[in-house]
């Protein structure tokens, strides 16, 4: 249910949606437990994304076959 490839936005939204579902009540205990586990897994995923994050920086360039791609930013930038 919780895909490791999920974007932060999707995980975050689903986490808050899971809390809302539990708040609504009207669930069997199995459903409640399943939502709890799903929510905790989503929270974990979000947390990890934030903790592990390092800003990636690249530059847009046009490749030889006419597609746009990311290339590493020029090293000299750091000297400015």
């Amino acid at each position: 249910m919780v895909d490791a490839e999920m974007s932060f936005e999707e995980a975050f939204d689903r986490l808050e949606a899971t809390v809302r579902q539990l708040e609504n009540g009207d669930l069997t205990i199995e459903e409640a437990v399943a939502l709890y586990e799903q929510g905790m897994a989503l929270a974990q995923l979000c947390q990890q994304r934030l903790d592990a994050a390092e800003l990636r920086i690249s530059r847009l360039a046009l490749s030889s076959d006419g597609y746009y791609e990311k290339v590493p930013l020029d090293e000299s930038l750091s000297e400015l």
């Binding site: 936005e9 975050f12 808050e16 899971t18 929270a43 994050a53 847009l60 400015l80």
Partner: protein, 398 residues
């Protein structure tokens, strides 16, 4: 030889004038005179100088849309408009779309004119501005690489929300080539399909230095960008056309970076809050279910058949015991009465009466029990029964 109608001639003149490049968009300075306003709200006046004059009209719609001033007679102004012919009267007129007081700089004039035009075209319409993504996965940056701006943006985003990516499309941000390079960069980012939002940024500078961001092609490139654009140009007080067209305007490049991403601390707080809610709600569920189950068990036990049987059994025992008690009680009572009757009977027993000293007299001749002195005469014989036998007696004295 051709003979023309008046209409044909006038129309020909109109077409000639409208085809002229200069006459279709020109700035004219002069003095206002003969100013009047029609019932519909249109402005009619004459623009003149010492040698000549020209008729002008400014329609109500143009006046409203632009930041034009409403002039008064005698005022020196600069107007922008196009020349044409009003056919019914056979007169040429300047159709004005902007009026500014004389003395306003050329750049300012151009700015005002473009602003009015784009506003009419709906470029600044708030309804058209797109919402920014809340957690962009990749952020495009259009700015110059040679300057503090790109570093500022990198620093702000690193601090606030490093869980994202920057894709920089560098360009000149001042000079004659800048406008085109800015357009190219915006277009490239759009075509790459790599970014969710674009920051268009440039540090502070003079009006001339900021001018590329007032160019029409840049405005059109921002308007046409599929990806939402945040403009962070110059300082707090600088307002360019790009600022007005962008989906979102920030006072500086750093502020633009702040608008692009949330702060990770706020995200962490919300994640923690969600975790706490999950725990609270889940244990709430378990607790309420536990007490529900307990109650159900209780109800079941009360209603259970074995319990019922036990109850009945107990009642049976009770009834039996009570019955036995009652029976005994009755028996006891009877016995009691029996004994009492026995005693009564015993006391009434003639033998015990005799024992007490009484005797029974029987007249020997008649055999009757003597109960009265009348029944006997002198010399009658009596049988006297006492407790332990019988005596024979004779009446001596009645």
């Amino acid at each position: 030889m051709q003979i023309y109608t008046v209409a044909q001639v006038v129309r020909y003149l109109k077409e000639l004038i409208e085809a002229d490049r200069i006459l279709s968009s020109l700035w004219v300075e002069g003095e206002v005179s003969n100013l009047s306003r029609s019932a519909a709200g249109h402005l009619y006046f004459t623009l003149k100088d010492t040698e000549s004059q020209i008729r002008c009209v400014m329609f109500r719609g143009q006046l409203a849309a632009s930041s034009s001033i409403v002039p008064s007679n005698g005022m020196a102004v600069i107007v922008h408009g196009r020349l044409s012919v009003y056919e019914p009267q056979g007169v040429y007129q300047l159709y004005v779309d902007l009026i500014q007081p004389e003395g306003v700089g050329l750049l300012q004039l151009q700015f005002e004119r473009l602003r009015a035009q784009l506003e009419r075209e709906g470029f600044f319409d708030p309804a058209r501005k797109r919402p920014l993504p809340r957690f962009p996965q990749r952020i495009g940056v259009v700015t110059s690489l040679g300057g503090a701006v790109v570093h500022d943006i990198i620093n702000v985003i690193s601090r606030r929300f490093p869980a994202t990516e920057l894709v920089i499309a560098p360009c000149a941000v001042q000079g004659p080539d800048a406008a085109q390079e800015i357009c190219d960069a915006l277009q490239a980012l759009n075509c790459s399909d790599l970014v969710d939002v674009i920051i268009l940024a440039r540090g502070g500078g003079s009006t001339e230095e900021l001018w590329p961001f007032n160019e029409e092609i840049v405005a059109r490139a921002i308007f046409g960008s599929r990806v939402p654009v945040i403009a962070g140009i110059g300082h707090e007080t600088d307002f360019t056309i790009a600022d007005l067209v962008a989906d979102c305007r920030a006072p500086t490049p750093s502020a633009a970076a702040e608008l692009a991403v949330p702060h990770q601390q706020e995200c962490r707080l919300r994640i923690d809050a969600a975790r706490r809610s999950l725990q609270r709600l889940a244990s709430g569920f378990v607790e309420s279910n536990r007490s529900r189950v307990a109650r159900l068990v209780e109800l079941m036990e009360r209603a259970s058949p074995s319990k019922l049987i036990d109850e009945r059994r107990q009642r049976l025992d009770d009834l039996v015991r009570q019955a036995a008690l009652r029976a005994r009680h009755t028996l006891d009572l009877r016995e009691e009465r029996l004994q009492s009757a026995g005693r009564q009977l015993a006391s009434l027993n003639p033998v015990s009466i005799l024992r007490r000293g009484y005797s029974v007299c029987v007249h020997e001749a008649t055999g009757q029990v003597v109960k009265s002195v009348q029944q006997v005469a002198e010399n009658d014989y009596l049988k006297i029964r006492v407790f332990d036998g019988t005596l024979r007696g004779k009446v001596v004295e009645p």
